[in-house]
């Protein structure tokens, strides 16, 4: 089975984010970058499918040259080859989805697995957009995936419980946190990854106009919370609960 997965380069999810004083963007000096954690889960799932039943795993990223690092991470985990669709500056989720449509048409994967959201922009849109454009079935927020020939059975984490869907293949899966625990790349894996093919192409090669439909005009800081008061003991906590919070 041929599986297409994605690897977005995102700001380190555990670093504090600050909006620039002039609101033009996020303060990026000293920032470190990582592969989007949800994409890591998607890549792991694709590699497990390959390990079970053979096939190929292709890692795609849409972004600047630096995103090669995240593709190499996927290759080091065990994916077979990479594709960087090189863009300058920001692209919106819609443009990413339309680029992926073309990659899907070119590569003809049996399955696309992507992280359910990127932890920078928090859009949670691309897998659904891609499924919509392709007219394929979608199973988003997956916590369990089983391939049965031409279909996949997917457990989805939704409000109020776990839903199970069956989708025809080819189809789109978006990975949630509990789908698996991604492996760490091993040293031999990292060495091997350096030799795996990584093609760079441009949106124009795919005939995609990446003009965004959604344009960010500016950023602001969320309202600050004044916290930090420590109470001495249980009676003081109860007093705060009663007098300040009006709990009882």
């Amino acid at each position: 089975m041929k599986v297409l997965v994605t690897a977005k380069r995102v700001t380190d999810p555990d670093m504090k984010i600050k909006v620039k004083a002039d609101g033009s963007g996020i303060e990026l000096s000293g920032m470190s970058y990582k592969i989007n954690p949800f994409d890591e889960i998607a890549i792991e799932e694709a590699i497990r499918i390959k390990e079970q039943s053979g096939g190929e795993v292709i890692v795609a990223s849409i972004g600047g040259d630096e995103a090669q690092t995240e593709i190499r991470t996927g290759l080091a985990m065990g994916a077979d080859r990479g594709i960087l669709v090189k863009t300058d500056g920001d692209v919106d989720s819609d443009a990413v989805a339309r680029v992926l449509v073309k990659l899907v048409e070119k590569e003809r994967p049996d399955l696309v697995i992507m992280g359910k959201q990127a932890v920078d922009l928090d859009d949670n849109q691309v897998p659904q957009l891609l499924a919509g454009y392709l007219g394929w079935g979608q199973a988003c927020f997956a916590s369990k995936l089983q391939i049965n020939g031409n279909t996949a059975t997917v457990a989805r984490e939704v409000d109020g419980g776990i839903e199970t869907l069956e989708i025809d293949l080819p189809g789109i899966i978006s990975a949630d946190l509990r789908l698996n625990e991604p492996r760490y790349p091993t040293l031999p894996g990292i060495m091997k990854a350096k030799k795996k093919p990584l093609d760079t192409i441009h949106p124009a090669d795919l005939d995609v106009d990446i003009t965004p439909k959604v344009v960010v005009k500016g950023f602001s800081n969320p309202p600050e919370r004044k916290g930090g008061r420590i109470v001495a003991d249980v009676p003081e906590l109860l007093k705060a609960l009663k007098d300040e919070a009006g709990a009882f």
């Binding site: 999810p13 919509g132 869907l165 025809d168 189809g171 005009k217």
Partner: protein, 319 residues
């Protein structure tokens, strides 16, 4: 822009309250652009939900029900929503940012060729304010397509009040053949209110050390008729069901009182609860980041203090 279409959501054919928060957004947006609010309720047997929402003074409520719409499927629902959008001079399609809203609305956007903003907090008639980076940045975004799509952060809007009867009409949808089939739903049964609807939430983390100890969390929550929440660590460990996860990738809540117990306050967790009105933190590590946003923090071993807290409150309440 023209009309605003709000997609209603139900749970077993009862209107979900978060739809009424999204309705407040829709009404505010309608005023900004001189449009009308239309509500769409999709699903077999949905007329009861339509009746409920018709009491909230909107320009009309549209029902779309037919065979094949028993269970929500993104492919079929998005086709129906897109058809209704095109037939009603709609400029903005919105829905609460629930798991269904998140699943459905991007597909609606693709079907309509529309741009979409996720987790919207406000709309000034031209740009949408939304959260990014786990709620640590607000972005102002402009959607450049004639039809716009968004999901709405329920906690940012009050629940709409009843405001007079609205006409209900039905729309006969054409259902495309779906490549997806509903197999089943494993419901996590709980007597407690939904996290997004509770005024008091008691959340526990890894510090609870096991599912059996969540009884301590539940006992406190039940005194207030509150909801129980959990961190990713507690859910991953299998101590609590997935839909109780609070955070960037779980539920976003804004309760009157939020107890954060035995949890550290990771960025991803705080993203889901820091807009609560009053936050209480109990953690044995005085360096835990949760204390930075707590209105009252107690540095203590939860196993030592929680029973005492619960018992004292119970007595004071006369329960």
């Amino acid at each position: 822009m023209a009309n605003i279409l709000l997609i209603a959501e139900d749970k077993k054919r009862e209107l979900k309250k978060v739809t009424l928060n999204a309705l407040t957004f829709a009404k505010q947006a309608a005023e900004k652009i001189n449009g009308q609010v239309i509500v769409l309720a999709v699903g077999a047997g949905i007329s009861k939900v339509a009746e409920e929402i018709s009491a909230y003074g909107v320009s009309k409520v549209i029902t779309a029900e037919t065979d094949g719409l028993e269970n929500y499927i993104a492919e079929t629902w998005s086709a129906v929503v897109a058809d209704v959008t095109r037939a009603n001079d709609v400029g903005l399609v919105c829905m609460a940012s629930t798991s269904m809203g998140k699943d459905l609305m991007p597909r609606v956007a693709a079907t309509l060729g529309a741009g979409m903003a996720s987790d919207v907090l406000g709309f000034d008639g031209a740009t949408f304010t939304r959260t990014m980076w786990a709620g640590n940045a607000y972005a102002n975004v402009e959607i450049t397509t004639p039809i716009k799509v968004c999901t709405v952060q329920g906690t940012a809007f009050d629940t709409a009040e009843k405001a007079g009867d609205s006409p209900v009409e039905s729309f006969m949808p054409t259902i495309p053949e779906a490549k997806t089939r509903f197999i089943g739903f494993n419901e996590s049964v709980s007597e407690r209110p939904d996290l997004t609807e509770a005024s008091v939430i008691v959340s526990g983390g890894r510090g609870l050390k096991g599912s059996e100890n969540f009884k301590l969390i539940e006992d406190l929550a039940d005194l207030f008729g509150g909801a129980v929440g959990a961190t990713r660590a507690a859910v991953d460990a299998g101590w609590m069901p997935n839909d109780l996860q609070v955070g960037q990738t779980g539920k976003i809540v804004a309760s009157d009182i939020y107890f954060a117990i035995g949890l550290s306050g990771a960025i991803q967790h705080m993203a889901g609860m820091k807009n609560s009105k009053y936050i209480i933190a109990i953690n044995k590590d005085e360096e835990a980041p949760i204390f930075e946003i707590a209105d009252a923090g107690l540095v203590a071993d939860l196993f030592k203090v929680l029973p005492e807290i619960t018992n004292t409150i119970r007595k004071e309440m006369g329960k």
